[in-house]
């Protein structure tokens, strides 16, 4: 095209030419518009096309599938794992930092301490990487923006490395067994296998378990196991577990609330490989200049601070949710007196007696945490006296004014009933 073509046409002055030139001008903009259209179509359609439908697998009964899970003996794997938790709590991102800073005091703690890190999983979406090679070598990494938190178990060493602050946490496996409740898995069940085992413990005549077709998870064919409570009054709607057809390993775990809406917990592999991970994956030497905290040093830092207890309560919510209380995880920080359980199956309500001291109310705790507690509260009165109900989409807790705490995956009415029956 000649450089002055457009000038020539506009100066020609002839109406037809002018209109033709305008049309040509407009026609060129078809190109960028087409590019946008094609891009939008690609973004919209490719996932739909890639989703090749549910795989065709031989029929299997729920019993056989559960046995398959039980027999599953996957020793070696590596994969990427996504966990989305939506308890209906406000975003814990900022709150979490105030919790840990409150709990750890100034400078005593280490951001590489596993308990501080894993609380973050209670809210939002997180990408994790897991790698395992036999019972002695595992690695769990929490992927963050331009940083990563890694928990590495290699032989007798347990390392936590927080690349953001360049801090290292070091413990040994023997100590961990006694005190930390066999590492992370018992405190926060994070892999689908852990979650499924916890859920299966709760299976009895209060629960229906069926095989609900097949699905494709992380590029592998899987059966879907549907676990549903038969009782009413619970906040748990259904639990779906996708089980790998070949290895029997649970690949995806979804918990939907009875109130409907998005899943409360949606945890699954986005990529998984059952080959032996490279040995170097589990090697760790603290980098030069990194601050190393030994496990023993942290015990003194666990104070009786109100916020520290709240953190513990969060963890307890996780434990409660997946069957019986596991008190070895509580490490003496829990309120006095073991929990007593009212009701059965899905409607179990655990009762804690905090010894009349009461729950940290908003004013007591103060700050962010206080506002947070108050915003969740909901005053109730009944034969048991009066109290406050704290609600999430899954776990509800009734805290009476005389210091008793009723916690369960049940609705408000069931909590009040439990409190009245206890009187």
């Amino acid at each position: 095209m000649a450089p002055y073509a457009s000038d020539d046409s506009t100066t020609a002055g002839d109406g037809d030419d002018l209109r033709a030139a305008r049309r040509r001008k407009a026609a060129r903009y078809v190109v960028p518009v087409t590019v946008v259209g094609v891009a939008a179509a690609t973004i919209g359609l490719v996932p739909a096309i890639a989703d090749s439908g549910d795989p065709d697998l031989p029929e299997i009964t729920a019993q056989q599938l559960i046995e398959k899970i039980a027999q599953s003996d996957v020793q070696q794997l590596s994969g990427t794992f996504k966990i989305t938790t939506d308890l209906g709590l406000p975003d814990l991102g900022g709150l979490e930092s105030s919790l840990t800073s409150g709990a750890m005091g100034s400078g005593d703690g280490s951001s590489a301490d596993p308990t501080a890190k894993l609380t973050e999983l209670a809210s939002g979406t997180h990408t994790l990487r897991v790698a395992a090679d036999g019972p002695d070598r595992q690695k769990l990494s929490l992927l963050e923006n331009a940083a990563e938190y890694s928990l590495i178990h290699n032989g007798k060493d347990i390392w936590g490395y927080d690349s953001k602050s360049n801090e290292v946490f070091h413990g040994t496996a023997e100590e961990a067994r006694g005190e930390k409740g066999k590492g992370r898995t018992e405190e926060v069940p994070a892999t689908p296998k852990d979650l499924t085992e916890e859920a299966l413990k709760a299976v009895d005549d209060t629960t229906s378990v069926t095989v609900d077709g097949t699905a494709q998870v992380a590029g592998r064919d899987a059966y879907r196991l549907l676990i549903k409570p038969k009782q009413s009054g619970t906040t748990v709607g259904a639990i779906t577990v996708a089980v790998d057809a070949k290895t029997g390993m649970p690949l995806k775990f979804t918990l939907t609330p009875s109130s409907g809406g998005a899943a409360v917990i949606d945890a699954g592999f986005t990529q998984v490989d059952f080959a032996k991970p490279a040995a170097s994956t589990f090697d760790f030497t603290p980098p030069k200049g990194a601050k190393v905290t030994e496990e023993g040093e942290l015990d003194g830092a666990a104070s009786e601070h109100g916020a520290a207890r709240s953190e513990d309560e969060l963890r307890k919510e996780f434990e409660k949710e997946f069957g019986g209380p596991k008190s070895e995880g509580e490490r003496g920080k829990a309120p006095e007196g073991g929990p007593e359980v009212i009701g059965e199956g899905w409607n179990s309500v655990a009762v804690f007696d905090t010894g009349g001291e009461g729950v940290p109310s908003g004013a007591e705790v103060g700050g962010d945490m206080g506002g947070f507690l108050d915003s969740l509260g909901d005053k109730v009165t009944g034969k048991f006296g009066s109290g406050t109900v704290f609600k999430t989409r899954l776990i509800n807790a009734l805290i009476t004014d005389d210091g008793k705490v009723y916690v369960g995956a049940v609705d408000k009415a069931a909590l009040v009933k439990a409190a009245e029956s206890a009187k």
Partner: protein, 293 residues
């Protein structure tokens, strides 16, 4: 080269000549050199600041559980290994300094020529508008690469002078050799340069809309800041993945072991999309533009 030849069918060599003259003109400008100088100064400042902070042997940000969380990515690892200064410098310049420099160069590409009254002379040469536009875009992308490499090389030099080098620990906690670390640093520099393609295309499009070079630069940089702000608003998370800056810091995923490719691939896709959309929009506009100056 005779005139008849050039009009009949410009040889590829001729395009190269145009590109070469464009490159020389761009990189000889004092403005360009000043921009590169500012970019080279950032790693020097970061390096000296970290050196002073840790001069008494204390580690960076050791003051509490979240103490090391502030500052650009990787900053707490610089004292372990000078190579991390490259990553920190790129993480510090990528959100603003680098795209701003690109915005200046890209915004100036067409509008600046129009403003100076040189655009019509460029178009008298039998190169054609499409070819001129492609040359301008190629020059801008060459500047993206040069600017990124200037930051990386300056950071590597400062890092080597002030801090120890050697095997480095990836953010996943595994160790890699220094040679592999250098390789990853080069790869990261390339990814950062590619991350700027989207801004370059946007700036070029804005540049074809106006005859004022300053207006084009200001608009491009303004758009950059707007997008960066919008990217921080959680309520808009549904459209965040389509912002050109959303996956910029994904270059850090190259420092994981194994490398986490998901976001890197998304970043490249977004950049390609912006290049295609705004590149073709710039073409449509420029082909039809009345050259009045």
């Amino acid at each position: 080269m005779s005139r008849a030849e050039a009009i009949g069918k410009p040889s590829p060599l001729w395009t190269f000549g145009l590109l070469r003259s464009e490159l020389i003109t761009t990189f000889r400008r004092w403005r360009t050199l000043a921009l590169l100088g500012v970019l080279a100064a950032v790693p020097i400042l970061v390096g000296i600041a970290v050196k002073i902070e840790t001069g008494d042997g204390s580690s960076m940000g050791g003051g509490g559980p979240q103490g090391g969380g502030g500052g650009p990515a990787f900053i707490s690892q610089i004292t372990n290994n000078g190579l991390f200064l490259v990553f920190t410098a790129l993480a510090a310049t990528l959100p603003f300094f680098l795209p701003m420099a690109i915005g200046v160069i890209a915004g100036d590409a067409i509008a600046g020529e129009a403003n100076a009254g040189t655009l019509r002379y460029l178009l008298v040469a039998p190169a054609g508008r499409t070819r001129l536009l492609l040359t301008k875009y190629a020059t801008t992308m060459a500047f993206c690469l040069v600017a990124t490499l200037v930051v990386a090389v300056s950071a590597l030099t400062v890092g080597a002078l002030l801090f120890p080098l050697g095997d480095l620990t990836t953010i996943s906690g595994t160790r890699i050799s220094f040679a592999e670390g250098l390789g990853r640093a080069l790869l990261i520099a390339l990814v950062v340069a590619v991350s700027l393609i989207g801004v370059a295309a946007l700036g070029l499009f804005v540049s074809t809309l106006t005859n004022s070079g300053i207006a084009a630069m200001a608009t491009t940089v303004g758009l950059l800041i707007t997008v960066q702000i919008l990217d921080q608003i959680p309520q808009l998370h549904a459209i965040h993945p389509y912002f050109f800056s959303h996956y910029w810091l994904s270059f850090a995923d190259l420092m994981r072991e194994p490398v986490y490719w998901d976001d890197l691939v998304k970043n490249l896709g977004v950049q390609a999309l912006y290049a295609a959309v705004f590149g073709s929009a710039a073409w449509a506009r420029f082909m039809a533009k009345d050259i009045t100056a």
